[in-house]
């Protein structure tokens, strides 16, 4: 067999743009979710450019003002512009959501594939430890971690990342167990490749589909967890703009007299999580060979 023969094979794989277009046609809800996520991501990334006001600047002349031309989403009890705080809050949500999902997902990938590859006592220990961590709901586990490390953005990321690791590793391990019994893994062993190379080069790429789906859902879960922790006063602290924090304190106190203080951050959380979940569901459908052909 020569290289020429391989090059002569017709390339039937669609281009990236073709794949995107196909995804959009087949997954309109997923596309809607993706658009929401992109809008939120752009808002977070360019907050300084698009936010009309400084999100932390008090304006005692404009306290609890209803939505108006000056303040499209109104102001909170300190006179801070709600739109600006929500735009900057998108950044906080994405930083926490993406970082927690990426770190937790990657760590879970490595742990899950390693657990499947080595098997035996290592697998047993890893899985039982995972059972222990997974016995606690995500938010309870995150609360426990925050109570140890204290509040703040970095600690919130740690608190959310830790419980995500076993959740990802469990799913990845199931796929990796199938991959481990494939002949090419035996071939790699026979060639004398080390465990690290086999895990990272040969096993991990073949469990990417479930991994991507998990990570996508983790982003939504992490944003919700961050909002929950901040709402409980254990997450991000004032004056940092964060959606969950905006629902705490003032939103409760002013729910009847200035409802926009509670409505808009709640809406932002809902749209972000909805968008990510819709996109995640569509991604699963697109990557699942059984669903893809329907």
């Amino acid at each position: 067999m020569s290289a020429t023969v391989v090059d002569d094979l017709p390339d039937t794989r669609p281009s990236v743009w073709q794949a995107v277009w196909k995804f959009c046609r087949r997954q309109p809800l997923g596309t809607f979710g993706l658009v929401l996520v992109i809008i939120i991501a752009i808002a977070g990334a360019t907050a300084e450019l698009i936010a009309p006001y400084n999100p932390t600047a008090n304006d005692f002349a404009a306290m609890t003002e209803a939505p108006s031309w000056e303040h499209w989403l109104g102001t909170d009890q300190f006179g801070r512009d709600m739109l600006s705080r929500i735009v900057f809050g998108a950044r906080t949500a994405l930083i926490v959501g993406l970082t927690s999902a990426a770190v937790g997902g990657f760590a879970g990938l490595v742990v899950g594939v390693s657990s499947a590859y080595f098997g035996g006592m290592i697998d047993l220990i890893i899985q039982r430890l995972s059972d222990i961590v997974m016995a606690f709901p995500l938010i309870i586990m995150a609360l426990a971690v925050v109570s140890i490390f204290g509040p703040g953005v970095h600690n919130v990321i740690i608190a959310i990342t830790i419980p995500l690791i076993p959740r990802c590793s469990r799913v990845v391990r199931a796929s990796a167990l199938t991959v481990r019994s494939m002949p090419y893994i035996d071939a790699a062993r026979a060639c004398g490749f080390g465990a690290t190379r086999i895990i990272l080069r040969h096993m991990a790429p073949n469990v990417v589909a479930p991994f991507l789906i998990m990570v996508t859902s983790f982003v939504g879960q992490a944003i919700l967890a961050e909002a929950s922790l901040s709402y409980l006063g254990l997450g991000v602290q004032e004056p940092v703009p964060a959606w969950g924090l905006m629902l705490q304190g003032g939103a409760e106190e002013y729910a009847s007299t200035a409802p926009w203080i509670a409505i808009f951050p709640g809406l932002a959380i809902m749209l972000a999580v909805l968008g990510i979940n819709l996109f995640g569901d569509a991604l699963r459908d697109a990557l699942d060979p059984k669903l893809r052909e329907r």
Binding site: T56, M63, Q77, F78, P151, E238, P239
Partner: protein
């Protein structure tokens, strides 16, 4: 909004209660809330929380107290168990109290001067293992003796105006000598008093109740047949309970938003009493950490804050109101506005003040300083104050983040000094400025100072002020002390003093607000217009 303002004005007019001329009615059970979890114990001598005093004050008598008909006064003391306020002898160092002879304990036995003397001996010189929470208040008391069945004599180490306020401490319940002799810890879990109500039932963390004491020594009192106090730590629950008339009020104080909401929904079925509160949040830099060991940096922190414009705005959203110095604003010893304006942080020209703050920071090499502000996880007013202060500091180029901790870890942080700058507080029972300002003494002298500094001049100036018996000279000494701790050294930075806002069902009569949520809680004069 106009209607709300109208209702607000109408309700706030209750600061001079409309029922003042009405004839009280007898009967009924009064239900109110205590906005807290269960108190650590029922013993007023060892506890410092309103959860204890709001739950147990109706069962007890005290020797003297602030006048329940004039509780806003910082100096109107009247007898409770004594027959008349004494005139001191021995150059103000001996005080002889005649005790009423018509007082009975709830078990029917007579209360005598021996009970009063024993109680105060335990407060001033507690037995080993017994906690007297306000021991520093009694620093001037040397001995307490019952010279006969109806006479108690207090001998002081030095004459001071701080004695009577210390004696009127609302936690200083008179306990039965026989019980204290038998078990000084008995009162931590049990109740036996001589107050207007007899103990009925206590469900830990749930409720406490009492019935009218028919043998109460004040004729005609109490008006109520009984009371039930419900522990409700959640503000939303409190509002719902008042709205649905499951409870008539809570006595600690609610934020302006709760007041506005209740007024909007209940109209004239709610009355609101408001007043300055003998509580204040303050900012304490940790002098043990650089650059806060430098007075220029501490002064800059004070100079950046616009007290005069911030206070009225904050009063709309938080339970704070009055700009003041180290002394409760309603006290004769408090600084006037003109006097305050001479102190860093109170200048009338905020731009000039902030320019000076920037200059001092630059001079101290602390331009664009970043640090963490430690705070307590309590919404009102702690978190509101912090949000305001952080924004004020940002106007002179300071970058401040906030670390909010639950009460336990917050106090651990204060005591261990593991903070850059912290929100701190000074809440006192009775207005007793000479002792209240002890908060500004170094930690080695005053255990609840967390600034982590030693300052002999501070101590000397305080002692001179405390021992001064001439009111005019004492006021001058207080001004010097205030200028020193807030300006020269800027050991701490004041924020606006709290405002107490107590909304209650309009049928509740006979209770008047005081500057302290610890005071005037025996319920003897409360009646229900139903």
């Amino acid at each position: 909004m106009r209607i709300l303002h109208g209702l607000l004005a109408l309700a706030l007019s209750a600061a001079v209660p409309a029922w003042a001329d009405e004839a009280p009615k007898r009967g009924g059970t009064f239900t109110y809330m205590i906005p807290a979890d269960a108190p650590p114990s029922l013993d007023g001598h060892r506890e410092t929380t309103y959860a204890t005093v709001h739950a147990t004050a109706p069962f007890y008598s005290v020797l003297i107290r602030i006048n329940p008909d004039n509780p806003s006064s910082p100096s109107d003391y009247v007898c409770d168990l004594c027959t008349e306020m004494p005139t001191p002898t021995d150059n103000g160092k001996t005080w002889t109290f005649k005790i009423r002879t018509d007082v009975k304990w709830h078990d029917g036995s007579p209360l005598t001067a021996a009970d009063v003397a024993k109680t105060w001996q335990e407060l001033v010189h507690p037995d080993p293992g017994v906690l007297s929470a306000r021991l520093p208040y009694y620093v001037m008391i040397d001995t307490v003796e019952a010279t006969d069945a109806s006479t108690v004599v207090f001998k002081l180490k030095f004459a001071t105006s701080a004695f009577l306020p210390a004696l009127a401490d609302p936690f200083a319940y008179i306990y039965k000598k026989e019980i204290l002799d038998r078990d000084p810890h008995w009162y931590e879990k049990n109740v036996m008093g001589s107050g207007p109500f007899k103990f009925v039932d206590y469900q830990i963390g749930q409720s406490i109740s009492g019935v009218r004491n028919p043998d109460y020594y004040r004729p005609g009192l109490p008006y109520l047949d009984g009371f039930k106090a419900i522990f409700t730590p959640k503000q939303a629950v409190e509002i719902d309970a008042i709205r649905s008339d499951r409870a008539a009020t809570e006595f600690r104080g609610m934020p302006p938003s709760a007041r506005d909401q209740l007024l909007k929904e209940l109209g004239d079925k709610i009355t609101v009493q408001t007043g300055d509160w003998n509580c204040v949040d303050m900012i304490t830099p940790n002098h043990g950490r650089k650059p806060f060991d430098d007075p220029r940096v501490r002064r800059a922190l004070a100079l950046a804050i616009d007290q005069w414009h911030g206070a009225p705005a904050l009063a709309k959203i938080a339970n704070v109101r009055t700009v003041g110095g180290i002394v409760f604003p309603g006290s004769p010893l408090a600084a006037t506005k003109q006097e305050l304006e001479q102190i860093a942080g109170y200048w009338s020209d905020i731009e000039k003040s902030r320019a000076e703050a920037r200059r001092l920071l630059k001079e101290a090499g602390a331009e664009n300083l970043s640090f963490e502000l430690m705070n307590r996880n309590v919404e009102q007013p702690y978190k509101y104050i912090a949000t305001w202060i952080i924004d004020e500091w940002s106007k002179v180029g300071l970058h401040v983040t906030q670390k909010v901790l639950p009460t336990g870890p917050f106090f651990d942080g204060l005591r261990s000094g593991s903070f850059d700058v912290t929100i701190d507080f000074n809440c006192q029972g009775l207005i007793n400025p000479a002792l209240d300002v002890g908060k500004f003494l170094p930690h080695s002298v005053y255990s609840e100072n967390y600034g982590n500094y030693e300052d002999q001049k501070d101590i000397d100036m305080y002692q001179a002020m405390l021992h001064e018996t001439d009111p005019v000279k004492q006021r001058i000494a207080m001004r010097d002390y205030e200028k020193y701790v807030l300006d020269t050294q800027a050991h701490m930075i004041m924020t606006p003093w709290w405002e107490r806002i107590v909304p209650m069902r309009s049928y509740v009569r006979g209770w008047k607000i005081s500057p302290s949520h610890y005071v005037n809680q025996d319920l003897a004069t409360i009646w229900l217009n139903q």
